[in-house]
């Protein structure tokens, strides 16, 4: 626990030094908000779109989190840390939690921008949604680290940034999947992110006790657990 805290603080301090990096990670969803949002608002609502963009943000920002560890592997820092008695879980969790803080800041930025455009959601729903996003983001970041350590490091960035695109589309970020033709709707049910996104939309609409919310929470928790499990294993085994 203590090791996790030490590494979390360290990691956070390093990433907060790059404030531009934190903002830049949110630029793409912000662009969608500004340049696509007004268009979408003619047929849908901001309360539908913003949760979608939050999921897009989570996928992009956390999906690429593993990139940081590619550098640490190259510089030998990771190997040095692996010789310390810090637990392998702490090596992973310290980083993942710091990524989660970044994600919270980015999400708040996005929500604030959404608010400026006219989105309205109850505070409780926003807070619950933020928690849900953090849980999902934790799993994503952990998986991203596992992939980064397993995969050829030169392929990581191009492969991951491409892989994120279908995941975002299949989650129904831009238009709810209920509008999709049958086959696409069926396909998107295979994506865990769809369930989380639907739960997020419910929360933003102020409906907390629905089956959709419950499903989304369960999926997010399961996803995070799997991500951390896989991540810890890979952190324990892989060497630079």
């Amino acid at each position: 626990m203590r090791d996790t805290w030490i590494l979390f603080r360290h990691s956070l301090r390093v990433s907060m030094r790059q404030k531009a990096g934190v903002v830049f990670g949110a630029v793409q969803p912000l662009l969608f908000l500004v340049l696509f949002g007004p268009l979408f608002a003619t047929i849908g609502t901001w309360e539908t779109l913003v949760p979608g963009l939050i999921v897009q943000l989570g996928l992009m920002s956390m999906g690429l989190a593993g990139f940081g560890v590619v550098f640490e592997k190259r510089s030998g820092v990771l190997e040095r840390l692996r010789v310390t008695p810090a637990s392998r879980l702490a090596l992973l969790l310290g980083r993942v939690l710091s990524n989660a803080v970044t994600l919270v800041l980015q999400t708040l930025l996005l929500v604030a921008a959404g608010y400026a455009f006219g989105m309205r959601a109850p505070l409780a729903g926003l807070a619950a949604g933020l928690v849900l996003v953090v849980v999902l983001g934790t799993g994503l970041a952990a998986l991203s680290y596992a992939i980064a350590l397993t995969m050829n490091e030169h392929l990581f960035a191009p492969v991951m940034s491409t892989a994120v695109v279908p995941l975002v589309l299949l989650s129904g970020s831009f238009l709810p999947m209920s509008m999709a033709p049958g086959w696409l709707d069926a396909l998107s049910h295979a994506s865990p992110f769809r369930y989380v996104l639907e739960a997020l939309r419910e929360l933003f609409a102020g409906r907390y006790a629905s089956a959709t919310v419950l499903t989304g929470v369960a999926v997010a928790v399961a996803f995070a657990a799997i991500g951390l499990l896989v991540g810890t294993r890979v952190f324990g085994e892989r060497t630079a």
Partner: protein, 246 residues
Amino acid sequence: MINTTGLTKTYEGGPEAVANLTMSVAPGEIVGFLGPNGAGKTTAMRMLTTLLKPTSGSAVVAGHDLLGDPREVRRRIGYVSQSGGVDPAVPLGEELEVQAMLYGLSRARASARAAEVLALLDLTGLETRPGGALSGGQRRRVDIAFALTHRPVLLFLDEPTTGLDPRSRAALWDHVRRLRAEQGVTVFLTTHYLDEADALCDRLLIMDRGRIVAEGAPAALKTGGRTLDEVFLDLTGRPLGQEAGA
């Protein structure tokens, strides 16, 4: 301090990098691995420092079983890897402090210890410098500082003086000898430099193609007025420093 039995590493699809390594290092000894590129020195060291899982064999390092109790081994050893591990973006003082805290020191003691090891390695004044803004030799000394933060009883140094100028090299040798004399630290190192092996080590293990081909005190290996170079040539049929299999 180190006892290995039949330690072997075969990389996937590769050669037997370390083959059936059985050796021991006594407490307080300074022992060196000497061998050409690709001999298996780094591979052996990475197994002994818990970084690489042996294909077979076992070892007791610093009083604990390498495979059964890696965490206790890690608490007691320091490791300077061949390529180093300094974060280019983080100020040195901060990173040393984190390193020390991971060994259980409180923040205040970690910060004091960071200043101490920086002074020890002649790096005082560079606390706020990020690793990327150091010279190669300075960075090497920072690597060594990292490995000393928790006062290990056993120190692994993989080519510690590569990239150091003559003065820093001499200072490092001096420092290694002092660690042993004052704190009884056991040192296991690899080197390509014959003068270094000669100056520093009580005992040398000459390694070639994953195997120890000769062992003895530097003086004993030089019997008959031969240099280590010549001994190596005799043993392996090729000069020191030549690529294995070349």
